[in-house]
Symmetry: C2
Subunit: 469 residues, 2 copies
Amino acid sequence: MNRFAGRLAGCFTAAALVLGTLSPSFAQDKVAATVAEKADAAKPAGSGVTDFVLDNGMQVVVIPDHRAPIVTHMVWYKIGSADEPPGKSGIAHFFEHLMFKGTKNHKPGEFGAKVAENGGSENAFTSYDYTAFFQTVAPDVLGTMMAYEADRMRNLILTDDVIGPERDVVLEERRMRVETSPEALLDEEVDATLFQNHPYRIPVIGWMHEMEKLNREDAVAFYNRYYAPNNAILVVAGDVDADTVRRLAESTYGKIPRGPDLPPRVRPSEPEQNTARTVTLKDDRVTVPSFSRAWVVPSYTTAEKGEAEALDLLSEILGGGVRSRLYQQLIVKSGVASSAGAYYEGGRLDSTSFSLYGAPRGEATLQTVEAAVDAELQRIREQGVTREELQKAKTRFVRSMIFARDNQAGMANIYGSNLATGGTIADIEQWPDRIEAVTPDQVQAVAVKYLVPERSVTGYLLPKEGASN
Amino acid sequence: MNRFAGRLAGCFTAAALVLGTLSPSFAQDKVAATVAEKADAAKPAGSGVTDFVLDNGMQVVVIPDHRAPIVTHMVWYKIGSADEPPGKSGIAHFFEHLMFKGTKNHKPGEFGAKVAENGGSENAFTSYDYTAFFQTVAPDVLGTMMAYEADRMRNLILTDDVIGPERDVVLEERRMRVETSPEALLDEEVDATLFQNHPYRIPVIGWMHEMEKLNREDAVAFYNRYYAPNNAILVVAGDVDADTVRRLAESTYGKIPRGPDLPPRVRPSEPEQNTARTVTLKDDRVTVPSFSRAWVVPSYTTAEKGEAEALDLLSEILGGGVRSRLYQQLIVKSGVASSAGAYYEGGRLDSTSFSLYGAPRGEATLQTVEAAVDAELQRIREQGVTREELQKAKTRFVRSMIFARDNQAGMANIYGSNLATGGTIADIEQWPDRIEAVTPDQVQAVAVKYLVPERSVTGYLLPKEGASN
């Protein structure tokens, strides 16, 4: 089951899709598959990272990486789908698309052509909490990238003949990625059921009927409110020094006036939840049934000290990869499951979700797999984890973070996503130590406190005939 | 199962609670229990009703009723909990409480004392779509009532020492009415699951954690925005003529300047729903298990022509009282159920809910009752209803409306609630004819179109041990 369906919306390449989900709480097995282990990747986290703020309020982070003559240039806006006005779902992602249109100074496509001409790559993505744009290019065109990126921060041309066709594009994107996928449709309604009050219940890409009504007025209001240097973070990773980045940034972004002061990002939060819920979708296109069970849990931003780290390690021990309990018990030993795992979306601004999932193999039923997943969770809730398996999980987990940092864009992504969700550079640099400090008792405690069966939401994806709920 | 739990919040007397739910789509058996049939109650609907608008935009409706020397004076504000800003749940109901505090001209309690001194009664209530205040008094003090009511429309004193203690009162009201009631807690989460996007998912009384934060600033903003003559409807029913009402209204309400122009009441609407959901609460205090199954359906305001009337009659035929199919089959014939019925909340501004419910009797299980309720629904979806039972249902239904009109406050309530949710006086007067025009095919059609098992939300209220879901 693709746990990422519907979570991030953007114009992804396959590689960018993986990058788009990185954070201290990424699913490391997905990353490990895309990066190679290198000796020099193991240097201490955060070494040499510089940060400063431009006069207009734009935050700048420079991450030196001189292994190759490339540079990754990212701009992160502290605006995501969970900040959208009620009834305007999809506007954040729609706006990400509009950023690729023409400006007062450049025709549509000119920026992208410049990147391609340089042999570079570019992309963008939107999540619940941020919208980011990036290019990977040779260092000598970094200033050019900044000039283009700074230009579209304020100079977009937003006329009806730009808005209308691009709205059709995002509507088609929703049709392709969600409406044709029973899994994505189910994921949307699981989220809408899990979050009773918080806007994380609304899909990043938007609800179709609201996307259809997005218009020029919405786009202009959104642009003027959120696209400004004091709501943005510039992250530059690569073969460049901080002084150069500062000079280039001041001569491009630094010329843009500060935008409106924005209030703190306080979204409606969850009430106390008292019920167990299920969400069932039966569909002809489903051949193998599957389930996922989710809970609202704290994120790194909202957690009490140590709880987010404990949730990350719980997800690693329970279902983080081939060494996890779920994999070993359900896939290797009993063989009842074709897939089973755990996922914690710790890198969000507000309280987030922790989920378990599984699907049967061969003659096994979904009920068997569900009971087996429950049993593994219950075993941790009752008996905790061993010191030894926790130590191994920490090693795997921190190592995967190091792997992720080995990829330049991955590194930039870790800094950008953390800073855009309320974290600091110190948080990132101290994260391995905080992971190391987690005790077995803390892992058991978060399982007992948060993963309560009577307050869970379970999604069932079932074939139309046959396996019944 | 009390289908009203959590739907309306207010300072009800028992009688007012019943009145608070009246509308063309009320559950007539509940009303029939409180009023006596009288010969003169059968006069044509709407006879002699007058309406006009004051210069400041306040709508006025006068309903003559000269059977007794009493008058019911109601002011309806077109503001309910579904209009609240995100994160401020409970402010509409909280404000209803604050309206009983002191003004620049009158001490707290003075208005109520005047009503009591006259031998009258007063109350107020808040729903998703409106907030209403009323007094029933002798006609000679109608002008005094208007003076007091007009005074508190604009002159409330909203200081922190007023706000703080009253917030404690509404918090305690929530504790008493919701937190101590498994049924009410379940109802809240069923609504939060049924409505994925529309604010009807949020309880009228508010979520505890948001109510705790309501403050003076919120109250003042709410008052200044919504409490104004151009957002209010005055309904006077009783032993008084329209000219007198106009003269009194002009000399009281008429003196208040028009408030800000408000935008149309467009709330976020529901996306297409694709899943069947369940919401389960197990609680020590539950002795008999029960269930309810709900769907999002159009209201009188949002329905296509004839559909709301058909839904009302479907609810009447299926589960509207002792003559309904569910009652006859499950309670009288098979005896498996201690309760079973249907409920359609047609009187809302936006698309609303239709629900079925049941609880077992004796040795019968909840599963048996649930299957029997489903079978009755399925029978209508497949075979429709007979012309004869539809005719009987229409007669019962229209008759119950006439009964409701026999009660003066009930009559005022029908006009106020309809006008506050987008209806017109003509709608009310033509309602019996529209009910008469519904065909058996139309009843079957709305059942087939809207009551789809694969898109329902089922709530289960279960004892902690024993009956499992």
